[in-house]
């Protein structure tokens, strides 16, 4: 028997058929939808008179557009409101489960689905959102699709695709104190660049990922798209099984045991061949931040911005108002955002709270803490973290994508810097003219307390 990688095992078991010299028909087990990228797909099907093929394999949530304050009141923005209404109507008409705004299971699509046990090892999963790669943390093949493809899955529960190539990133060793999963992925992207993964599915392997929590694994897989890869994957293990067990949609009892037995067959066989391999050492990874306008422009927090004389590099620094050779330590920062599908899970808020406890937010800083889901929000309150945040002057808001893409009112003003736990530092991503510095929740919390970027390693006891 040939040696197979995790990715191959899952992909190959989902191929319905292959077109000669063309793509394959890939079966999709789970389809997640949200308000922004689904309406045109529903319209398309309606226009062509095609019914939704498998409505019970679709789960919907409202997240991109939703306000993070006063969610119980009608939405002020007429266009946003219309988008949400349309989602509700479409779901109702087509018998699709929807966790709408205010529902106890509502949240960012990539936070709520794993939390409910919808995300499981060995399945294929898609969503009209590039950060669907997040779900690969469970050993699923999960990737973002465009709206035409959303319509295809609606119509047939399948997609026409060419099998991507495989890539493995191995990180061995033990992470240093203060180095979080976010730093690991920012480090990898800073080394590999933003298009090294294009055309590939990436498996993360090695002791660093084996020892990571599911939350951390999701943070890593989430940003696979930021190096161009369609998805990321981590082999399922006991950590995965323990996370899934007893969740709402998880198989129960004997059915669960049977699944686990199957899931245990999925990890990459020893000796399997990848199209590309990279190996890093945990010892080289330190807390990271970005200085430019793509996620590959990352440095160790204590490092100086590198010199590079290209058009796009200079354009990027000009936008950020930074110069080559400059250090960002002590740079005053007025906005801090802890949230987004990268870092809005309970563990992220625990990390932030453990640093913030007993301290005060700096006067100059506006700090938004936006949980990824209603369940995370409830947990924050239950664990008493909210009290810590309140006492320190932080604002805990209601769940949603929020300032990650600033489609709602949560926008960073023109010209302001924001230290953000989200995944993209593109020009204007967090609001027109805003300047995003990506970092871990720990670095973000420290920035909010100090009012400037600090060397986090000096602030850990």
């Amino acid at each position: 028997m040939s040696k197979k990688a995790l990715f191959d095992k899952v992909w190959d078991s989902h191929v319905v058929s292959s077109i000669e010299n063309g793509p394959q028909i890939l079966y999709i087990d789970q389809h997640l939808i949200h308000e922004v990228t689904s309406p045109q797909a529903f319209n398309e099907l309606e226009r062509r008179g095609i019914p939704i093929f498998r409505p019970d394999q679709i789960v919907a949530t409202a997240d991109h557009n939703t306000p993070t304050l006063n969610q119980d009141q009608p939405i002020k923005d007429a266009l946003s409101r219309k988008q949400l209404e349309q989602l509700s109507q479409n779901c109702e008409k087509n018998n699709i489960t929807l966790y709408e705004l205010g529902h106890k299971y509502n949240g960012i699509v990539h936070v709520m689905a794993p939390e409910l046990g919808i995300t499981q090892p060995g399945i294929t999963m898609v969503c009209g959102d590039s950060h669907t790669s997040t779900h690969g943390a469970f050993g699923a093949i999960a990737f973002g699709i465009g709206t035409s493809q959303v319509a295809q899955v609606f119509a047939s529960q399948c997609l026409l695709l060419k099998k991507p190539k495989s890539l493995r990133v191995t990180v061995n060793g033990t992470l240093k104190k203060g180095v979080l999963p976010k730093d690991v992925i920012l480090y990898i992207i800073s080394k590999l660049g933003t298009n090294s993964g294009t055309g590939y599915f990436c498996e993360y392997a090695g002791s660093v990922f084996e020892n990571m929590s599911m939350e951390g694994r999701m943070t890593v897989c989430n940003m696979s798209i930021e190096m161009g890869a369609r998805g990321g994957m981590i082999a399922p293990d006991q950590t995965t099984f323990d996370y899934i067990k007893e969740r709402e949609f998880a198989p129960k009892g004997k059915a669960f045991e049977e699944k686990v037995a199957y899931w245990k067959t999925l990890p990459t066989d020893e000796g399997a061949i990848f199209d590309k391999e990279y190996v890093f050492d945990a010892d080289d990874i330190e807390p990271m931040i970005t200085y430019g306008t793509n996620p590959g422009m990352g440095i160790k927090i204590t490092e100086a911005i590198p010199e590079e004389d290209t058009l796009s590099f200079n354009k990027s620094l000009q936008y950020m108002n930074f110069s080559a050779g400059e250090r960002l330590i002590d740079k005053p920062i007025n906005y801090v955002f802890i949230g987004s599908c990268t870092n809005s899970r309970i563990e992220d808020f625990r990390v932030a709270a453990s640093f913030i406890k007993g301290k005060q937010k700096a006067e100059n800083v506006t700090a938004w803490l936006v949980p990824g889901s209603k369940q995370v929000e409830a947990q924050i309150i239950k664990e008493g973290l909210k009290d810590i945040f309140d006492e320190a002057g932080f604002q805990l808001r209601q769940p949603g994508c929020s300032a990650c893409l600033a489609m709602n009112e949560d926008k960073i003003p023109q010209g302001e810097y924001c230290v953000s736990t989200s995944n993209r530092n593109f020009e204007g991503r967090q609001g027109q003219g805003s300047r995003t510095i990506l970092a871990s929740p720990l670095v973000a919390a420290a920035t909010a307390v100090e009012g400037k970027i600090v060397d986090i390693t000096e602030h850990l006891n």
Partner: protein, 196 residues
């Protein structure tokens, strides 16, 4: 979907690398529930100044640059999966985007909307950029059947790759949904005997 075979047109150069989907169509314009009108906001924050006036320095606003071919720097379309980016480019009137590298999802989205992504070598892209910038009225021919892109009245020509299945779709103007629906029996049979 509109059929695509051959296109002869002038081109607009956009000599910027890593053009991401947030630049192509900023998120605040994603609230529409149909596909129309996105062209008006293509490259919104580059095309317009803060006061809403046109940014005269941006190539799309320069009178000398016209046509339905956009020639862009490396790694075009990176970032989000929003198909609104392809709708915006097509809606503005482009039929072809040329670059030395396209992000995966963008490429697929473009093809699904009859917008042809033509991936060329870095050398060809540089030469093409120079020719258009020095002579904006240069005509470029994109021949899908023969998979070639050439600058008319010049030596500059290169062949490009395209998935055979996608090529057939574009030339005939049909899409993946048609294909999948015709295979429903296969799909149902697969569901009945899934092995996982």
């Amino acid at each position: 979907m509109e059929k695509f075979t051959t296109l002869i047109s002038t081109a607009v150069p956009l000599n910027i690398e890593n053009v991401d989907t947030d630049q192509i169509i900023p998120a605040r314009f994603l609230k529409a529930t149909d596909k129309k009108g996105f062209g008006d906001n293509l490259f919104r924050d580059w095309r317009f100044n803060k006061d809403g006036s046109e940014n005269k320095d941006f190539n799309l606003n320069k009178a000398q640059y016209t046509g339905s071919i956009l020639v862009a720097g490396d790694n075009f379309g990176c970032g989000s999966s929003r198909e609104h980016a392809a709708w915006a480019i097509a809606g503005y009137g482009f039929k072809v985007v040329v670059s030395s590298f396209f992000a995966d999802i963008f490429k697929g989205n473009a093809l699904n909307n009859g917008l042809l992504p033509v991936q060329v070598s870095e050398g060809f892209l540089n030469d093409l950029m120079t020719i258009i910038e020095s002579n904006p009225s240069s005509k470029i021919e994109v021949d899908l059947s023969n998979q070639t892109i050439s600058v008319l009245d010049s030596e500059l020509s290169e062949s490009f790759e395209i998935d055979a299945y996608k090529k057939t779709c574009l030339i005939n103007g049909y899409d993946d949904i048609d294909y999948l629906i015709n295979n429903k029996e296969l799909i149902e049979a697969f569901e009945a005997q899934k092995t996982y």
